[in-house]
């Protein structure tokens, strides 16, 4: 079984802020990490490998320094790491990103493709399903449990608003996964050693046979027009006094607003 896990190197977004004066990102000292949801996808890939035998390849598209994310994945135990990198990818939106990744996956071959449900920088959750469409294979999003993997089919649980769906799909399939799926393993000492030495395979736009017009800024239907800081509004009213007085005042206000 060939398993490909797509990962993204992201800034630790809890730390990213915007300067409200200049509307620019403050990125000083913000660390790059593997997108947390993708860690669960890597773990899922390793668990499928343990059950079915096979090979786990981790794939990322990004600038040369995204190699660090791949080495971290190798330290967790994946077999192969591929960096899809080319200047022509710069400025890709989800459509162009998914197109390039789908061409790379075609090139690598895969029975099961795993992605985190979304990346914590863009939060779009679109690249996974778009890859599946480009590859003309089914996908299941928000997978919280993988019940069974057979040679030509898979049974999983899909998280929904009011519970979950038990789903079956033919292979090849693409799954996007949520945190509840598993607990990602820590890198082993052996893994860390392997990560240092491992060769990272590099692919360019030409290697995967991608059409130039569908890449990067040129291939992206959407554009970022501007960015700005979220506004915190509201005329706050502090309610002070003894606990009794506070509750009197609060209940009075809420009753006045017909909240009760």
């Amino acid at each position: 079984m060939k398993i490909v896990v797509c990962v993204k190197q992201v800034p630790d977004t809890a730390e990213v802020r915007i300067n409200p004066e200049t509307n620019t990102l403050i990125r000083d000292g913000v660390e790059s990490i593997i997108n947390p949801y993708d860690m669960h996808a890597i773990e899922a890939g390793l668990q499928i490998r343990e059950k079915t035998a096979g090979k786990v390849t981790v794939l990322t598209m990004g600038p040369p320094q995204a190699e660090n994310a791949l080495r971290e994945a190798i330290s967790m135990g994946v077999d192969d790491a591929v960096l899809l990198t080319d200047r022509s990818f710069a400025g890709s939106d989800t459509w162009a990103t998914a197109y390039a990744l789908s061409k790379a996956i075609e090139h690598l071959g895969a029975d099961v493709i795993l992605c985190g449900k979304q990346a914590i920088d863009g939060d779009t959750a679109q690249v996974g399903p778009e890859i599946a469409e480009f590859l003309d294979i089914p996908h299941i999003a928000y997978v919280r449990k993988i019940d069974d993997v057979k040679e030509d089919s898979i049974v999983v649980q899909r998280l929904m608003d009011e519970g979950y769906d038990l789903m079956e799909s033919s292979l090849p399939v693409l799954l996007t996964v949520v945190r509840e799926l598993n607990v990602p393993r820590m890198p082993s000492l052996k893994g860390k050693m392997a990560a240092k030495k491992a060769g990272i395979k590099k692919l360019t736009a030409a290697d995967i046979g991608a059409e130039e017009s569908k890449l990067g800024l040129k291939g992206s239907p959407t554009q970022v027009r501007n960015i700005f800081a979220p506004e915190a509004k509201r005329d706050r009213k502090m309610i002070n006094g003894t606990n009794e007085e506070i509750i009197d005042a609060l209940v009075k206000e809420l009753t006045g607003l017909k909240c009760l």
Binding site: A14, L25, D165, V173, P230, R234, R236
Partner: protein, 395 residues
């Protein structure tokens, strides 16, 4: 479109460097230059004291786009029941259509004839309805297949869906197939007065940043819209419209829903539909603390929510979580107890009508979005408040 620097005007003053969120501007030989990292965000255009930075329109930008007309909203149903977000989308769709001219249509897969009529009363001029059995449960491929087919046939200008597990799963397939842009999880939509393009505002970087996204050259412009953010349309019981029956002859599905399992707990956790939410964070100290919230919620007839911190501690299940990685809610009343107010939590609840924040730390960021702030001890205040509410309600 490109951004360029007029080298004759540029003085190399470097004012523009910090305006670029993407580090795309460099100064080489005393002149600014825009590199390929440029994302066309236009942040730099207004900052140059010499007016040396300008936009270049490409010929391709001016070519006539396959415009299409009308706003479509995808009306989601679960077990035949229309989801609340469908009515919010109709409200948003109507406001956009007023600025553009043209009709608002709803698309309903599965669901009933009565459901289709209901969508008309909530503001749809037309409803494309397919009641084929294949749509009874949600599978991505048939949903994406038929919607893409209908869009190709009728060519709407804008297509919206709820940013729910369903909308966010199958809309990307439709956009990929139609070679058009899709903007995820929008919290505000408007029409650019000049270009008539859809302005799509959405949070990114975990809610720390807002971005306005355009889809200038391809149609339709597609977006998923965060539930409980847009106002519903006006309900008019006498409104008339047209229902267009649609057949699903060409759709396939390689996935199958074997079973749908509903998980319901004692207190309703349907947070997104709740009018009152009592929510707790790390300050609740543990499961015992949360019991105080359940008591208050019961007295108020509301639901219990939680911050990610409380969920991560294991004090309450994930399905109660409010925030960027949980549910987005917009109740009439949101009572935040012992929640410090990380921005990831705030983006999930700040559209609530009234927010009451109770916290022992007067500097907690939650107070910045609160309508009423109370600095005090939750373990004293909550039982008293519950008692008082019961008295008021009993009276």
């Amino acid at each position: 479109m490109f951004i360029r620097v007029n080298k004759d005007k540029c003085t190399g003053c470097e004012t523009c460097l910090s305006s670029c969120p993407y580090d795309a501007i460099i100064v080489k030989d005393g002149k600014a230059d825009i590199t390929e990292l440029c994302q066309l965000c236009r942040s730099c255009l207004s900052v140059c004291p010499e007016g040396a930075i300008f936009e270049v329109e490409e010929e391709a930008d001016k070519k006539e786009k396959a415009q299409g007309s009308g706003v479509w909203v995808f009306a989601e149903q679960r077990d035949g029941e229309l989801a609340g977000v469908s009515f919010e989308l109709l409200g948003a769709g109507r406001r956009l259509a007023e600025k553009l001219g043209g009709e608002v249509s709803a698309v309903l897969f599965g669901g009933s004839a009565a459901g289709a009529e209901e969508l008309i009363r909530w503001g749809a001029d037309k409803v494309y309805h397919c009641d084929d059995g294949i749509f009874r449960a949600f599978n991505d491929e048939p949903y994406a297949g038929l919607l893409a087919e209908l869009i190709t046939q009728y060519r709407p200008e804008i297509v919206l869906a709820g940013a729910t597990p369903i909308g966010r799963s199958f809309f990307p397939r439709v956009a990929a197939r139609l070679k058009t842009g899709l903007t995820a999880d929008c919290t505000s939509l408007d029409i650019d007065g000049e270009t008539k393009n859809l302005l799509q505002v959405r949070p990114a970087f975990g809610g720390n940043i807002m971005a306005t996204i355009l889809c200038p050259h391809t149609r339709p412009q597609m977006a998923t819209v965060r539930p409980r953010v847009m106002k519903r349309g006006e309900y008019d019981g006498s409104r008339k419209g047209e229902v267009v029956k649609v057949r699903a002859d060409n759709v396939k599905s390689r996935t199958k829903v074997i079973e749908t399992i509903r998980e319901v707990s004692e207190v309703s956790v349907n947070l997104q539909e709740a009018n009152i939410i009592v929510s707790g964070g790390r300050g609740m100290g543990g499961e015992k603390g949360f019991q105080l919230l359940f008591d208050l919620a019961e007295a108020l007839g509301g639901c219990v929510g939680a911050s990610r911190a409380a969920v991560d501690e294991g004090w309450i299940p994930y399905r109660h979580q409010v925030g960027q990685t949980g549910k987005t809610v917009g109740p009439k009343l949101y009572i935040a107890c012992g929640i410090s107010g990380a921005v990831q939590h705030l983006v999930g609840m700040q559209s609530s009508d009234i927010i009451v924040a109770i916290n022992k730390n007067p500097d907690a960021p939650i107070f910045s979005v609160a309508t009423y702030g109370i600095v005090g001890d939750l373990f004293e205040i909550l039982p008293l408040l519950t008692k008082r509410i019961k008295e008021v309600k009993g009276a």
